[in-house]
């Protein structure tokens, strides 16, 4: 039977067909390889950093990141302890977050619920643009415009008032440097930089809430604000929380603008009015000129800490946004 099959197509067409189908296998292989390489890349980053920080990890152990270990960052003696820069990252990011969240949520509400249709598109553009301005440009503007005009007077005022308080006083202890280079400057620049990120994600969360929720509330006689505050915000809360955590991740990882305005010193005590370091800025500032293998390794270990923190924050944020999406689809 087999030998009697008549081939209807010319031989070259059969060959082409075979080759094309063969091509499909190659295609699938390529897709698979590309996808696997993305996953591998992330693992590779983690492993490489971990591996390169071995020297520092073995030398300093957990004391490296401990708030209670005696702080020292001394390339001459090869003694490193990262807490001051971790503290710098935390304090600047937390202040930025506290300031940015009310702003961002307000902006998200305005964009999602209130903006007249004519204004909506241009306003959305502006918020997106704010997120697109390169970090170094923020830094340049920060050094020459924002620090002298805003941060220095504000810092002086804080030192004069809050610095005298018994409890908060330590955080607001002057004197404010005349240049304005300080943790406060970094925190305020970060506020400006993360506000559009949080606002844009929160806006999308609000827009995804079904109309029936708004109607239910308004039909009960709620005002627009009551509807927003008592129905929409609770409904989208986990999504907005996700947006906030995303913003926190961005603040902690932000490098250039912070490096340019924070003053870059491992001293500075706890006061936000003093210069300091963040994890990202100490790497940016010192790595290219690392004086020893131990110095480089310690900086890479700071990178590991940064990696782990942002990884956790991102995973948490994704999970929150994902859970709110699921809820929205379910109803």
């Amino acid at each position: 039977m087999n030998t009697t099959i008549v081939t209807k197509r010319p031989r070259w067409q059969q060959q082409l067909r075979y080759k094309l189908q063969h091509g499909d296998r190659l295609w699938k292989l390529l897709l698979l390889l590309a996808s696997i390489s993305v996953v591998v890349l992330v693992l590779w980053i983690a492993w490489r950093l971990w591996d390169q920080s071995a020297l520092s990890r073995h030398q300093f152990g957990w004391a490296f990141i401990s708030p209670w270990a005696p702080s020292s960052w001394n390339p001459a003696l090869d003694k490193f302890q990262a807490w001051p820069s971790i503290y710098g990252s935390l304090i600047t990011s937390i202040i930025a977050l506290l300031l940015a969240v009310p702003f961002s949520v307000g902006i998200a509400i305005f964009l999602a619920e209130l903006a007249p249709p004519v204004l909506r598109a241009p306003l959305n553009y502006m918020v997106e643009m704010l997120a697109a301005v390169p970090s170094v440009v923020y830094g340049l503007w920060g050094i020459y415009v924002f620090l002298p005009l805003v941060v220095v007077p504000l810092g002086n005022a804080l030192a004069a008032t809050g610095g005298q308080l018994p409890l908060l006083g330590g955080l607001l202890k002057g004197p404010m440097p005349v240049s304005g280079l300080s943790r406060l400057g970094a925190a305020l620049i970060l506020t400006i930089m993360i506000t559009p990120t949080i606002a844009a994600v929160s806006r999308d969360v609000l827009l995804a809430i079904p109309r029936s929720q708004r109607e239910a509330s308004l039909a009960l006689g709620a005002t627009q604000w009551e509807t927003i505050w008592q129905v929409l915000i609770p409904y989208g809360l986990s999504g907005i929380l996700g947006a906030v955590i995303l913003g926190l991740g961005r603040a902690i990882g932000e490098t250039m603008a912070v490096t340019m305005v924070i003053g870059n010193t491992t001293g500075g005590g706890n006061s936000i009015l003093r210069p300091g370091y963040t994890m990202a800025s100490i790497i940016a500032n010192e790595f290219a000129e690392a004086v020893s293998d131990m110095h480089a390794s310690a900086l890479i270990e700071v990178g590991v800490v940064l990696f782990v923190v942002t990884l956790l924050l991102n995973a948490l944020a994704r999970w929150l946004v994902w859970s709110v999406n699921r809820k929205t689809m379910g109803s």
Partner: protein
């Protein structure tokens, strides 16, 4: 049902209070938006005024003069940025598109989930950490800083941006289009490249534009990969190569192998120098960078919303 329960409340007073709260809070959200937009306008206007003042033709066609003297330009940074963004695009775009194709053709496999998660993580890793990583795998191996290392670092930044946008755009391609092609007996790869890619091309291109805008503005990953180089000039390298009868490949190798400068890198270095000429040039660089990045962003978003509207109707 008795109807007097609200008699216990002074309703008109409650109404007045609620309306007041309503107006105040709604007004506040608008005020917040205005306050947030002020920095954008402030930065843009300031950079345009300051930078516009110092920008001239020399700025685009000359290399930097020695410190402390005026004049000169940032040609090396423009060329370096250009070269590294090209390297990054060449490295990042093909695998990113392939991964995006994988995500739309096999959306629910464990690998797809892993790819999405990795993409999100990659986008969330601070760019300075990416810089450390590329230093460790490229610079340490090569034993010197190079445009290639900078380009690879930027490609790592671009990769997740492209994967995400390409996946989103490919998902918008009607299912029937792909299935139609497959039903006609065309192989999978042909359906993908000849049918899906053209259908989603505009959207994918805008995604690539956005990723290029992002990469062009990045400084942190270049700090210890490209390092910076005041004398990075492609024209010179080509002339030198031709004079010494080098092959095209060797010249190209030179271009990739040298430490390179980039616009944001130059801005960063100049901004912190005590020479006023350098600071002025930093403003000019900021202007070029800002205009480039914002223009790409506006174009991409405008194109995208236009395209979305077309698809929506």
């Amino acid at each position: 049902m008795q109807k007097d329960i609200f008699a216990q409340v002074d309703l008109p007073r409650v109404y007045r209070r609620r309306q007041l709260v309503n107006s105040v809070m709604l007004g506040l959200t608008g005020l917040f938006l205005v306050l947030a937009i002020i920095p954008l306008i402030w930065i843009t206007v300031y950079v345009i005024i300051k930078g516009g003042h110092y920008i001239n033709l020399d700025f685009f066609i000359h290399l930097p003069r020695p410190m402390g003297t005026s004049g000169g330009g940032v040609l090396q940074a423009i060329e370096g940025s250009f070269v590294m963004v090209i390297i990054a695009s060449v490295i990042a775009i093909p695998p990113a598109l392939l991964a995006a194709f994988y995500l739309v053709t096999a959306p629910n496999t464990p690998l797809a989930t892993a790819v999405r998660f990795s993409t999100d993580l990659l986008a969330g890793i601070p760019s300075i950490v990416i810089g450390l990583f590329i230093y460790a795998i490229v610079v340490v191996t090569q034993k010197h800083y190079s445009a290639l290392a900078g380009g690879i670092a930027l490609s790592t930044i671009m990769l997740p941006v492209i994967i995400r946008s390409a996946e989103e755009m490919l998902k918008l391609v009607p299912r029937e289009l792909r299935e139609g092609a497959l039903a006609l007996g065309s192989p999978e790869w042909k359906a993908a490249l000849r049918v899906m890619l053209p259908a989603a091309a505009e959207g994918i291109l805008t995604g690539i534009m956005l990723s290029i805008a992002r990469a062009t503005g990045e400084t942190a990953p270049l700090l210890f990969t490209a390092l910076g180089n005041d004398n990075y000039e492609i024209g010179n390298m080509i002339r030198q190569g031709v004079r010494h009868h080098q092959s095209v490949l060797a010249i190209l190798g030179q271009i990739l192998d040298q430490p390179a400068d980039a616009l944001p890198l130059t801005l960063w270095k100049y901004a912190q120098q005590p020479y006023p000429e350098r600071v002025q040039q930093a403003w000019a660089v900021a202007l070029v960078l800002l205009l480039f990045v914002l223009t790409l962003n506006i174009l991409a978003r405008f194109w995208l919303s236009h395209r979305r509207r077309q698809l929506g109707e």
